[in-house]
C-alpha cells in the first residue's frame, strides 16, 4: 500500500506542474486525500490509471460547502488623539474589533479509487469548483473510468456540478425539467410536490378578480 505522499511524489515526477495537494484527514480512518487542480485532472487521472494501476473507480460523489460567514475578533491598532494631563496627545491603542467576513463556498467532487491489479486502495481524490453559482465546471473523468458515467450524472443532478467532457450529461434521478439541485445545503423543498397547474387555476383567478371588482358595491349597500 503506497502512502499519499508517495503517490503525490510519483504524480509530480510524471507530470510536472500537476498541482497536487494533500488534504489530511484527522479522523481515525486516516484516509487522506489528494486535491487535484481541475486543469490537470484528466492528465493526472490517466497517469493514475495507466502508471500507478488505479484501475477501479469505486465511488464518485459531491459535497456542498456553502458560503460561510465567519465572525472573528481582530486586534486593531489605531492612533487616537487623547487628552492626557491637559495636553492633546496621539496615542497608539489596541482594540478588539468584531469583524465578519464571508468565506466563499464551493462544490467538491470526491473520487475513491482502488487498484484491482495491486489489491490496493483507497485513494481519495478531490476537485473543487470556483464557486457555487457560475463557475461550476469540472472536467469529467468518465472517458478514463467508465464507472463515473452514472455517478457523475447523479452529482450533476443533485449538486449541480457540470462535468465537461461527459458523453451524456443528463439528470439521473430527478425528472427532466426539475430546476434545483436537492443535495445542496440551501435547497428548500416545495410545499406541495404534487402541485401541477390546471385550467381550473385560471377560472379561480378570474373569480377572484370579479369578487374584488364587486366588493365596494356590496359594502356600500350594507352601510345604507
Amino acid at each position: 500500500m503506497k502512502t499519499v505522499e508517495e503517490i503525490k511524489a510519483a504524480i509530480e515526477a510524471g507530470i510536472p506542474g500537476a498541482g497536487v495537494e494533500i488534504l489530511s484527514n484527522p479522523s481515525p480512518s486516516a484516509q487522506h486525500s489528494l486535491r487535484l487542480d481541475p486543469s490537470h485532472a484528466v492528465q493526472v487521472a490517466t497517469f493514475l490509471r495507466d502508471q500507478l494501476q488505479f484501475d477501479f473507480l469505486s465511488n464518485v460523489t459531491g459535497v456542498d460547502w456553502p458560503d460561510k460567514e465567519i465572525s472573528e475578533k481582530v486586534k486593531v491598532t489605531r492612533s487616537v488623539t487623547k487628552t492626557v494631563d491637559g495636553k492633546e496627545q496621539t496615542v497608539e491603542e489596541t482594540v478588539d474589533e468584531a469583524r465578519k467576513r464571508v468565506e466563499p463556498g464551493c462544490l467538491e467532487a470526491v473520487y475513491h479509487l482502488f487498484s484491482v491489479a495491486l489489491k490496493d486502495g483507497p485513494l481519495v481524490m478531490r476537485m473543487r469548483t470556483g464557486n457555487r453559482t457560475d463557475q461550476v465546471e469540472l472536467p469529467s473523468l468518465t472517458p478514463i473510468w467508465r464507472a463515473a458515467e452514472f455517478q457523475e450524472r447523479e452529482v450533476f443532478d443533485l449538486f449541480g456540478i457540470v462535468f465537461r467532457g461527459h458523453p451524456d450529461l443528463r439528470r439521473l434521478l430527478m425528472w427532466e425539467g426539475f430546476k434545483d439541485h436537492p443535495m445542496r445545503k440551501d435547497y428548500v423543498d416545495p410545499d406541495d410536490y404534487e402541485y401541477e397547474p390546471t385550467p381550473h387555476d385560471e377560472v379561480l383567478k378570474r373569480a377572484e378578480a370579479h369578487k374584488a371588482a364587486s366588493q365596494p358595491a356590496t359594502t356600500a349597500v350594507k352601510e345604507l
Binding site: P28, D55, V116, A147, F150
Partner: protein, 392 residues
C-alpha cells in the same frame, strides 16, 4: 494497465470503454420500445428505452429515479443512529449487510471496533444473507427465462427458513435493523445457534437439488451461454463489482482484499467465471453459496462467548470528531460502500451510499447491444439489482 493480467486486445484506443454503435441493417423501420417501468421483469420500477431493428437491440437507455426519495438528504438531517433502520430499505433483500456496511463506515470514522463475538455474529448473518440473496436471484433469473414459479419457489422455500432465523433474532424478517456502531443490538442464544446449524445442515442438499435441476438444463444453457458477455477489462473500468465482476474472471472479492471484520480467519475460495456470460453469473452464485456454507460452518464452530458491544461506544450524544471515512463491504450484490463526512455535529455533514446495483447497471447497454430483445430481460436479471438501492 500493463501487468494486470488482462488480455491486451482492442483496448486503450480512444473510447474503448464506450458502448459500440450498432448500425441497423437498413431493412424496415426501427421500433422504439419502453420496457418498464411496470414491466414484470424489471424487479420494481425501472425503465429501459430500447431501439429495436427487428428483434435486435441497437440502443438501450436506462431511465432511473422512479423510486427516488433522496435517502442521503434524509440521513444528513438526522442523527447517525437514526439512519440505521433506513439502510434496511436500500437493498431490502439484504438488510443485514447494509447495516454492516454502514456500521463499518461509522466505526472507521470514530475508531471503534466491535468485540469478537459481535464480529462472528456479523459474519454468520452476512453469509446467511448472501445465501438467501443468491438463491432468490437465481430463482428470479429462471423465472424470467419462462420457468414460471417452480424454481423460484424452491429458492423461496430455503429463503423462508433463513428469514425465520432472522425473525427469531432481530424481530423482523427483512427490515432487521440489527447492527450497531461497535457491535450488535441483541445477543444470539444457544438455541438460535442450534437452529442455525440445522438450517445450514440442510443447505448443501438444497443447492445440489437446485443444481441438478437447472445446471445442465438444455433450455438454460441455450439461453444463457454466450449471451450478455462482459469483458473483464470493461468490467473493471466500469466499476462492476460482486458476482458479476468475478463471473468475468476478475479475482476481486472485498472479503479477501480488505479483510474487513474477521474474514481472514476463514478458509474459503473465490469462484471465478471464464466467459463472463449469464451462465457464468449463475454458476458463480451457486458456487458462492457453497463457499458461504463453508464460512458458516467454521464461524458456528468457533464463535466465542463474550460481550457484543464495545463498552466505549455511545448511544446518546454520539458526535464523531471532524473527519471523513469510506467503509465498504462485499455485499451479495457487489461493493456496498458508505462515505461519511463529520463536522463534529450529531448529524453526518455528508452521507453517501455507493450502491452496487446502480453501478453494475452502467454496462447494461454494452451487454445488451446486438442481442435479441427477449435476452434483455435475462441479461438484466443476471445483474441482480434491487430498485430500492438503485434509486435510493
Amino acid at each position: 494497465m500493463s501487468g494486470s493480467g488482462f488480455v491486451e486486445d482492442e483496448k486503450m484506443t480512444e473510447g474503448w470503454n464506450r458502448p459500440p454503435v450498432i448500425e441497423p441493417d437498413g431493412e424496415g423501420e426501427l421500433l422504439e420500445v419502453a420496457m418498464g417501468p411496470h414491466h414484470p421483469s424489471t424487479h420494481g420500477v425501472f425503465r429501459m428505452d430500447v431501439a429495436l431493428d427487428g428483434e435486435r437491440v441497437i440502443r438501450l437507455r436506462p431511465v432511473f429515479g422512479y423510486l427516488h426519495r433522496n435517502h442521503e438528504k434524509i440521513a444528513e438531517g438526522t442523527s447517525y443512529l437514526a439512519s440505521m433502520p433506513y439502510t434496511d430499505r436500500l437493498d431490502y433483500f439484504c438488510s443485514l449487510t447494509n447495516n454492516w456496511a454502514y456500521a463499518l463506515a461509522v466505526e472507521k470514522l470514530t475508531g471503534q471496533e466491535a468485540p469478537e463475538r459481535a464480529q462472528y455474529i456479523r459474519v454468520i448473518l452476512a453469509e446467511l444473507t448472501r445465501i438467501q440473496n443468491h438463491a432468490s436471484a437465481i430463482g428470479f433469473l429462471i423465472q424470467e427465462m419462462g420457468a414460471s414459479g417452480t424454481p423460484l419457489m424452491y429458492a423461496f422455500k430455503e429463503r423462508e427458513k433463513i428469514l425465520d432465523l432472522f425473525e427469531a433474532l432481530t424481530g423482523s424478517r427483512m427490515m432487521c435493523n440489527y447492527m450497531r456502531f461497535g457491535g450488535c443490538r441483541v445477543d444470539v442464544s444457544a438455541a438460535w445457534l442450534d437452529g442455525a446449524k440445522k438450517v445450514i445442515a440442510g443447505l448443501p442438499g438444497f443447492i445440489d437439488e437446485f443444481e441438478n435441476l437447472l445446471g445442465s438444463n438444455e433450455i438454460l444453457m441455450a439461453r444463457c451461454q454466450g449471451v450478455g458477455v462482459l469483458r473483464p477489462e470493461l468490467a473493471v473500468n466500469a466499476g462492476v463489482s460482486g458476482p458479476m465482476l468475478r463471473a468475468s474472471g476478475v479475482n476481486y472479492d472485498i472479503r479477501k482484499v480488505d479483510h474487513y471484520g474477521i474474514y481472514d480467519r476463514f478458509a474459503f475460495r473465490v469462484p471465478l467465471g471464464d466467459h463472463g456470460d449469464i451462465y457464468d453469473r449463475y454458476m458463480v452464485r451457486i458456487l458462492e453459496m457453497r463457499e458461504s456454507i463453508q464460512i458458516l460452518n467454521q464461524a458456528l464452530k468457533d464463535i466465542p462467548s463474550g460481550p457484543i458491544m464495545d463498552p466505549k461506544s455511545k448511544i446518546r450524544g454520539f458526535r464523531p470528531k471532524p473527519g471523513e471515512a469510506y467503509g465498504r463491504i462485499e455485499a451479495p450484490k457487489g461493493e456496498l460502500g458508505f462515505y461519511l463526512i463529520s463536522d463534529g455535529g450529531p448529524n453526518p455533514y455528508r452521507y453517501r451510499v455507493r450502491p452496487p446495483s446502480l453501478i453494475n447497471l452502467t454496462v447494461l447497454e454494452d451487454m445488451c447491444l446486438g442481442q435479441n430483445v427477449a435476452d434483455v430481460v435475462l441479461i438484466f436479471g443476471s445483474v441482480d439489482i434491487v430498485l430500492g438501492e438503485v434509486d435510493r
